[in-house]
């Protein structure tokens, strides 16, 4: 039922002059869900997030956040949102704790309560030992965790995370994921954008793939793989004879569901990878290397949004 959705959009559009950033999307996010926007740069993810965060006015369409109208009730909605923006905007001259207490005051939290929440949240994001230190010397991962803590300081009903782990090293990313997973377990509704497939698979119950301002697919990570890819993928590398992988692809035609020749390898999409490999050998082809793996969201993503580089 739409009334119970935390976010409900119908034909949502955002235009900047002639440029259409978001081109008529529909979506519903239910309480307790971890919902992801997946898409290449420029797909319209951040523009959508800014409209949900009530700092950008929709050009057309209908949008309800927490059952309210973001244009009329923006301030009241924002009081119940936690926002972790793509670019860090911590106060570098304030201490780690002051960044949280100062921010809590914007939501009308009392000073004593702000201090209590700050200490609790610093514990949660494992920064208690840095509480009185400055923000500047913190690593990228620590700053991100502090920004996530800051987004929780008003005990929000809905947390928006715009590319929460972009630019972090693997250890830092895993720590952020682990903390976000804890939030999810507590029942916090998370909405995040990402262009990392592993992030989407790790965190999202349900996601939409955006491309060119439109939603091109929707579902759970598992369902998306089932609908838009095969169970397995065979990666073949050839080193003999023929000039291009396209020529190999022609010889592989009919094996599996789909053949995708890349410059360095040929991908064979098949539900049974081993059977596909057997068929490759039966056709007299001798690839230099064969790898059978499970399909991932990355395969779905590249299939849906293409391999052309978007800058």
């Amino acid at each position: 039922m739409a009334d119970q959705s935390l976010i409900s959009a119908r034909g949502l559009v955002k235009r900047f002059g002639d440029f259409t950033a978001v081109d008529g999307i529909d979506l519903e996010v239910a309480p307790g869900e971890a919902f992801g926007f997946l898409g290449p740069n420029g797909a319209g993810k951040s523009s959508t997030m800014r409209m949900i965060g009530c700092v950008s006015t929709p050009t057309a369409g209908e949008l309800r956040i927490l059952g309210m109208d973001p244009v009329r009730d923006g301030t009241r909605i924002r009081a119940r949102l936690g926002v972790c923006p793509q670019l860090d905007n911590l106060d570098p001259d304030l201490s780690v704790r002051e960044n949280l207490t100062t921010y809590a005051r914007y939501f009308g939290v009392t000073r004593a309560e702000a201090r209590r929440r700050a200490d609790e949240l610093l514990e949660f994001v494992q920064l208690s030992d840095r509480a009185n230190g400055k923000v500047e010397p913190l690593s990228g991962g620590m700053k991100r965790r502090l920004t996530i803590a800051r987004a929780m300081v008003n005990e929000p009903d809905l947390v928006l995370l715009d590319e929460p782990t972009t630019g972090l090293d693997p250890q830092a990313r895993h720590l952020v994921w682990e903390r976000l997973f804890r939030l999810k377990q507590r029942g916090t509704t998370l909405v995040l954008t990402t262009h990392y497939m592993d992030e989407a698979e790790q965190l999202c119950d349900r996601l939409v793939v955006m491309d060119g301002g439109k939603i091109v697919a929707e579902g759970s990570p598992r369902a998306l793989i089932e609908n838009y890819s095969t169970a397995e993928v065979v990666e073949l590398r050839f080193s003999d004879g023929l000039d291009s992988n396209a020529q190999y692809a022609a010889k592989l035609d009919g094996i599996g569901d789909r053949v995708d020749p890349l410059p360095d390898r040929v991908l064979l999409y098949a539900d049974d990878g081993d059977a596909a490999v057997a068929e490759v050998h039966r056709r007299g082809l001798t690839p230099a290397s064969v790898l059978v793996r499970r399909s991932t969201l990355e395969d779905v993503f590249l299939h849906l949004t293409g391999r052309t580089l978007v800058d």
Binding site: G53, L90, L94, R105, Y106
Partner: protein, 269 residues
């Protein structure tokens, strides 16, 4: 029962002053100031005293008296107001652009239930506090130099509060509009320096050629200097008090509207 009215524009709550978020914005500035105040002591306190000593006593030895008082006493209100002016400009240029572009603190506030105009109001209130603090310290020192001739000298506090509003708001609006800090060089060269030199700080504007005098009359600094000089010397200003105050108020009101508009434009789309 609370009756809250809302507008259909992005501006949100139409009440002119929403206290809670404004107080929170002021608190952030005060927390920052508590950490960084030492850096401002030289420019907002020691430097003006050095000015008074070198120009007031040094140059004053040659000038003797001016308009019936010793030169030091004559320039005290000028240096006082120009100090207030410098603090206002200094704190409304780089720090404001920085909070948009580099720190992005205003974006952080905007994601919370703080509206653009709350930020403008909070910054202005903090600036009034900052300037008042410097003026009090300055007056305490100057009283020992024998630079104050009337209890009306206390009126320099509200005068400088009004000047703060007249200067901070348009400069803030400017800082919120530009993309690059190189525009500040233009502001300093073509506005701040002339306003300091030709606003009756070091000599009466009547010394200026008639053609240049309107520059002084147009500057809010001159009106604040005239009022302050009248206060510290205990005499009437050159123009009716209402005109001086009205002119400063005009700058404050137009500046405030411009700043609110510039902040809203920059933080909303």
């Amino acid at each position: 029962m609370t009756t809250e009215t809302t507008t259909v524009t992005g501006a949100g709550d139409p009440r002119p002053l929403r206290l809670r978020p404004v107080v929170a914005v002021v608190e952030r500035y005060l927390t920052l100031y508590r950490r960084l105040w030492q850096a401002s002591v030289f420019s907002s306190f020691i430097l003006p005293i050095l000015f008074l000593i070198s120009i007031g006593i040094g140059v004053g030895g040659y000038v003797g008296s001016i308009e019936g008082v010793d030169y030091l006493s004559w320039i005290v209100p000028g240096v006082l107001v120009s100090t207030a002016f410098q603090i206002c400009v200094g704190e409304s240029t780089y720090p404001v652009l920085g909070d948009f572009k580099w720190v992005r603190a205003y974006h952080a506030m905007r994601a919370a239930p703080v509206q653009p105009k709350d930020i403008v109001h909070g910054h202005l209130l903090y600036m009034i506090f900052r300037v008042q603090l410097s003026i009090v310290a300055f007056l305490l020192v100057v009283v020992f130099f024998g630079g104050l001739h009337s209890p009306w000298a206390l009126a320099t506090l509200p005068i400088c509060a009004l000047l703060t509003a007249a200067v901070v708001t348009p400069v803030t609006a400017f800082a919120a509009t530009i993309e690059s800090d190189s525009y500040f060089a233009l502001l300093f060269r073509f506005v701040v320096i002339p306003a300091t030199l030709f606003s009756g700080v070091f000599f009466p504007v009547e010394q200026l050629p008639v053609a240049i005098r309107p520059v002084a009359y147009a500057s809010p600094v001159w009106h604040a200097v005239e009022l302050s000089r009248a206060a510290t010397l205990g005499r009437a200003p050159s123009w009716p008090i209402v005109v001086h105050i009205g002119y400063l108020l005009l700058w404050a009101v137009i500046g405030l509207l411009a700043a609110r508009r510039a902040f809203a434009r920059r933080l909303e789309d």
